[in-house]
């Protein structure tokens, strides 16, 4: 593990009027880690993710990515520095096919100023997009319009689009939300296998404690805009405060989960 964190927040603070959504958040994530973010609704998880990805400016504090301040940068600039994200509701281009969604993501990754005359569908791009779809096990849907594919597949395409730019870090916002119970583990298996192969650092927000316990190496537990626990899953999920304030408050109805790996 390298000394300089890949992502670091220092005294991050955010208020919405009188509401404190994030309070003195100090987090350092190192390359190679898979970090889970847990917390009840309104705990500050999404505010944290939105600040880190440039969607929401913090009221105070500093955010460093790869040793550089990313405060005030637009989301696209942060993406181009190597931080990609997926969304709670898969954010795709509904009128395009799965392959074209991937090709749009790839062409943007190749150049922030898309070409006026170079076709989107070049053999090299199609080959790379297909290879990524294969990695995620969704190549069979390449010519389907994204609205016509199952929810789990849409989630995977959403994550594949984020990953095709070869990011250093991937932020997953509730990757299994809206996915059928029986699809959750196969989906996460696919995702985690691919991110491990690519050596990507992962930070993901998740309500399902079984998913969190199984896939992460570290948990950040949020409550009322603060990080109340930070450490290995066993330690955090055994923490009395976390059990009382976070896990016990109906996170997917799983209660405390055991690590299965």
């Amino acid at each position: 593990m390298s000394q300089t964190p890949i992502l670091e927040s220092r005294s991050l603070h955010r208020t919405f009027g009188a509401v404190v959504a994030a309070k003195d958040i100090n987090v350092a994530i190192h390359a190679g880690e898979v970090v889970g973010v847990i917390g009840s609704n309104g705990a500050g998880k999404t505010t944290f993710i939105n600040m880190v990805t440039g969607f929401l400016p913090p009221s105070a504090g500093e955010i460093m990515f790869n040793g550089r301040s990313i405060l005030g940068l637009a989301p696209r600039k942060i993406t181009r520095m190597g931080m990609a994200r997926s969304f709670q509701v898969a954010q795709l281009f509904p009128e395009l096919t799965v392959l074209d969604n991937m090709l749009v993501a790839l062409s943007i990754a190749e150049s922030p100023l898309p070409s006026f005359l170079r076709p989107l569908r070049t053999p090299e791009r199609v080959e790379k997009a297909e290879a990524t779809l294969k990695e995620f096990g969704v190549a069979a849907f390449r010519d389907h319009q994204v609205t016509a594919v199952p929810q789990g597949t849409r989630k995977l395409v959403d994550i594949a689009m984020a990953l095709i730019a070869n990011p250093k870090m991937l932020l997953l916002d509730e990757p299994t939300s809206g996915v059928a119970v029986e699809e959750k583990f196969p989906l996460m298996d696919s995702v985690m296998e691919v991110v491990r192969r690519h050596g990507v650092t992962v930070l993901f927000v998740e309500h399902d404690m079984e998913i969190v316990a199984r896939y992460v190496s570290r948990i950040l537990a949020f409550y009322a805009g603060e990080v109340i626990a930070d450490g290995p899953p066993d330690q955090v999920l055994d923490d009395a405060k976390v059990r009382e304030l976070v896990v016990g408050h109906g996170h997917g109805g799983h209660g405390r989960a055991r690590r299965s790996s």
Binding site: T79, V104, S107, A109, L113, P114, F116, P119
Partner: protein, 314 residues
């Protein structure tokens, strides 16, 4: 540069239509000249519609194109059609580069109304400019082509020129629709936030397509000025811009040829509507638009797609 089937078909259509100058009656070649010139302006509207923006002020660039051709001849002594059209594109692009900085900050109705506002500002300025003929405008004459003076066959020359330019522009715009920027425009229309999170600037993409659309539309204005031999502020009036949106809806955004087909149909319907119901021809056009929106919301071109799908099923 390899041409695909659609591009070959577009160029062949341009050649066939241009050769029609030898067999078609004058009234028809004139009608087609105006239709194709307007089709070019509509291409500018369609390029923006693909990105989810509807311009209600494309008349601004139609007018700039027309006035640049007229003023180039009157004040600069430039009479070459190709130079004048190039100048009209440059003038429109320069104006679009300035206005685009503001306009691309807005979306939906705000964008539409701002484009309309700018075209009406130009209308107001031209209508008050005595030196430019005020509301009467002024005449455009003495067009030459690479040292050749068409003289009495000027209208025929402009028709052939319009067919050629329309075909080449159609090939370019077809290529654009298949390019990265073409797809990114579609992506912006469907999910702008995601485009930003993939690492592109939606605003820059919209800005560059706005400038391109202005240049293409100016070509249409320039050709109209040459064909009619006259330009006036009506070219920037809001009803003229509305006409372009009407034609864009009529054709749809499904194919690069659709604006030309729709513009030809629009000109024909309007010509006959004025002839048969001179006092209520607008009503006929209103019914046509109503029918299109209700029965063919994706425009006339969707008829071709439906036919192809039906054939595929058989």
């Amino acid at each position: 540069m390899r041409l695909d089937r659609t591009e070959l078909w577009l160029l062949a259509s341009g050649v066939v239509l241009a050769l029609g100058v030898f067999v078609l009656p004058n009234w028809l070649t004139f009608l087609l000249t105006i239709a194709f010139a307007k089709g070019l302006v509509v291409q500018g509207v369609v390029v923006q519609m693909r990105a989810g923006l509807v311009s209600f002020g494309q008349g601004l660039y139609y007018c700039i194109g027309g006035y640049t051709v007229g003023m180039g001849g009157q004040w600069l002594g430039v009479h070459d059609a190709f130079v004048l059209l190039a100048l009209s594109m440059v003038a429109a692009a320069v104006v679009a580069m300035v206005l685009g900085l503001l306009l691309t900050r807005y979306r939906e109705i705000f964008f539409a109304m701002l484009t309309l506002a700018f075209s009406m500002i130009l209308y107001g300025v031209l209508a008050k400019s005595q030196s430019l003929g005020s509301t009467d405008g002024f005449n455009v004459h003495g067009i030459t082509a690479l040292g050749w003076t068409p003289g009495s066959s000027g209208k025929m020359f402009v028709y052939v020129l319009t067919c050629g330019i329309a075909a080449v522009a159609a090939v370019f715009l077809h290529r654009l629709s298949k390019s990265s920027v073409g797809y990114v425009c579609e992506a912006i229309r469907e999910n702008e936030v995601r485009v930003e999170y993939l690492g592109a600037s939606p605003r820059w993409t919209l800005y560059s397509t706005y400038v391109l659309a202005a240049a293409v539309s100016a070509l249409g204005g320039g050709l109209t000025g040459m064909a009619t031999g006259h330009v006036d502020p009506e070219m920037a009036y809001w009803t003229t811009s509305g006409e372009f949106v009407f034609i864009a809806l009529l054709g749809g955004i499904g194919h690069v040829a659709a604006p030309f087909v729709a513009a030809s149909l629009f000109s024909t319907v309007r010509t006959y509507a004025i002839q048969f119901v001179p006092h209520s021809w607008q009503m006929i056009l209103g019914f046509v638009l109503l029918g299109i929106i209700i029965f063919l919301p994706k425009g006339l071109w969707s008829l071709f797609k439906r036919t192809r799908k039906a054939e595929a099923r058989v």
